[in-house]
Amino acid sequence: MKKSRLLGFLLGSICLLFGQGSFAMDCDEIVLGAAISLTGKYATNGVHAQNGYEFAIQKISEHGGIKIGDKCYNFRVIYYDDESKGDRGATLAERLINQDGVQYMLGPYSSGLTKAIAPVTEKYQIPMVEAEGASRSLFTQGYRYLFAVLSTSEQYLASAITLAAEKAEETGKSPSDVRVAIAVENDPFSLDIRAGVLEDAAKYNMQVVVDEKLPRDLSDMSAILTKVKLVKPDVLVVSGHSKGAATAVRQIEEQNVKVPMIAITHCEAADVVGNFGDAANDILCSTQWAETLSYSDSIFGTAAEYEQEFKAAYPEYAEKTVPYQTAQASAAVYVFKDAFERAGSLDKEAVRDAIAETDLSTFYGQIQFSEAGNNIAKPMVLRQIQDGKYNVVAPSEFASHQLNWPRG
């Protein structure tokens, strides 16, 4: 210990002797805290998010770090594993703030964990930019220090309803003739999705003919699909995390269910193309982000460049598409960088106010926060599985491909 301090002192003096040039590259540290699911049921996505954070930190440091005044900083994150459990997440957030003295937080994975941690960051007035909690209920609590870069969950499949209305008009029918079937899991996230779909369906005066809630633990939905076959809706919306996606795709094919438009969530997480091949064709999948979108920024480049460079940095992703969970995690770090620079100080209140005023174009999309802290500038994207590839078909201004309709 003593020796190394002496050595450091010597080296320091030598550097001082030879001028200050060598110091210019060494930036100070800004420490962020994150409790994230590295084990437990959210482990896969938790790791995706962590990789996104780390990749962004590395890119920002390559671009000269965060400049506040004439000093430069780099991010460093203290991670704790919340084991995918809410109570653990809240405890770890306390520990990060009280013991590690963290002043700024990055979010955990999932709405549930974010919900558990947000009261803690709120209590200590610690700004938290989160990238993985989409539940609408996070933004109705009046939280002042919580910001989310992603679109909230009620938007996930609502665009499918708009798309169905557009198609109805094209074929000379009225959107109010469209009949909607909904099957969502009975959890906060999926119920948000259902609320958004119901809201938009009501706007077009559509008729909801099936409205079922899938139990959390069951991997069989043949009863619903039988009903769908009998009532023949025009749109079928399914949300049940990756299990719901896998079950839906498999049983829709098995039961030979013909619905002109089928929209689901978590296609990538369930790897429906890899697992079920052709059965997944022409299914619409909602996503926060796709690498084919035309967004870009000065740090990460375009969405496509982000994907390439991320794959180069993390070879384990080489075989698959980079999940949006990773992209949005990177975007959250970028929001912090931007806010620190605009705030011009390390004071957490100043940083919080700067985050609230964010108006940032990123490779992930536009980021601008509402009063409640959710991102209101970025739309959800719908991709259709066409010959095993995910092609963006909605919203139309970013669409790279035509929609295949009707399905089947």
């Binding site: 896969t44 069951l218 991997s219 009903k227 990756s242 299990k243 498999r250 098995e254 039961q255």
Partner: protein, 303 residues
């Protein structure tokens, strides 16, 4: 209420759907019955209520899934999972279960609950938390204008399950080991007096249960999906089925499994799929109440 009436009217309008519901239910029930069968065995012979039952099922599914990744045909995964899970069951018995067999109910529940947590987490670390499944390239058979669909993969799964169940029943009835197991179940002490190595019987029974679960899991991965934390679904159903059928009534377990499968499907069609599991549990309550009343009558006549 309107929804329920509408659902009932659909059943009336398309009577053929009734048949479909029963077929679907039986195909689902067959798989749950298999795990329940193993549970009844362990419960009856060793008086251990194995809470890790579902996790053995999921582990078997992962064995088959992992082999399929390396090009092994999924149908061969069923015997492979049987063998591998036999080994896993044996290890679990030697490490943990052998120490709790003669202990009270609470100890064995805690121990098997611990095994369940361990297994789920180990599977998660080994294979990740993504849902997995195997798609068999078999067609689906359609009857009655496509109203009834029987995927051949599912049919094969049910046939495999039936074969396995039949083999185990024959084994229990006619082999020496089967006799020893039944003798131990009746009275362990008497069995020991008569020269049966009950320790060996216990180890065998637990391994057999684990192997049956493993084979069930290998079938589940072909017709549904698996994920490290889905074991509890199978555990709960196994308990419901065994409790409803009663111990020591192995054919009853199979019948109860099929019946619960079919009734669940009916219930979920009429009341909404959200109530599917509630229906299973209500059914259990009804059976238990019925039993209680029945027993009370018997006791009264004895007094």
């Amino acid at each position: 209420m309107d929804q329920i009436l509408f659902n009932l009217s659909l059943l009336g309008e398309y009577p053929i759907v009734n048949l479909k519901i029963v077929i679907d239910g039986i195909m689902i029930g067959a798989l749950f019955a298999l795990a329940a069968y193993g549970l009844a065995l362990v419960w009856g012979v060793m008086n251990v209520k194995n809470l890790a039952q579902g996790d053995f099922v999921i582990a078997g599914g992962y064995v088959s899934w992992w082999l399929a990744k390396y090009g092994v045909h999924p149908l061969l995964g069923v015997p492979a999972a049987f063998i591998v899970m036999w080994g896993v069951g044996w290890i679990a018995y030697k490490l943990v279960i052998s120490r709790v067999v003669e202990k009270d109910l609470f100890t064995s529940l805690l121990a098997t609950f611990g095994i369940a947590i361990m297994m789920a987490q180990i599977l998660n670390l080994l294979f990740g938390s993504d849902t997995q499944s195997i798609k068999l390239d078999y067609d689906t058979l359609y009857f009655f204008d496509g109203f009834i669909d029987v995927p051949i993969a599912k049919l094969l799964g049910v046939l495999l399950a039936a074969t396995l169940a039949a083999c185990v029943i024959i084994f229990m009835k006619s082999s020496r080991m089967g006799q020893a197991i039944r003798a131990t179940a009746q009275d362990a002490r008497a069995a020991r007096v008569l020269g049966i190595d009950t320790e060996k019987v216990y180890a065998f029974t637990f391994s057999l249960n684990s192997a049956i679960c493993g084979a069930a899991g290998a079938i589940v991965v072909m017709v549904w999906v698996i994920q490290p934390f889905y074991g509890i679904t199978h555990s709960i159903r196994a308990f419901v089925i065994v409790t409803a059928a009663g111990l020591g009534n192995l054919p009853g377990v199979i019948a109860a499994g099929l019946g619960i499968g079919a009734l669940e499907q009916y219930g979920s069609h009429i009341f909404g799929i959200g109530y599917q599991q509630a229906i299973a549990v209500m059914l259990l309550l009804a059976v238990l109440l019925f039993r209680l009343i029945q027993q009370r009558r018997v006791r009264k006549s004895l007094q």
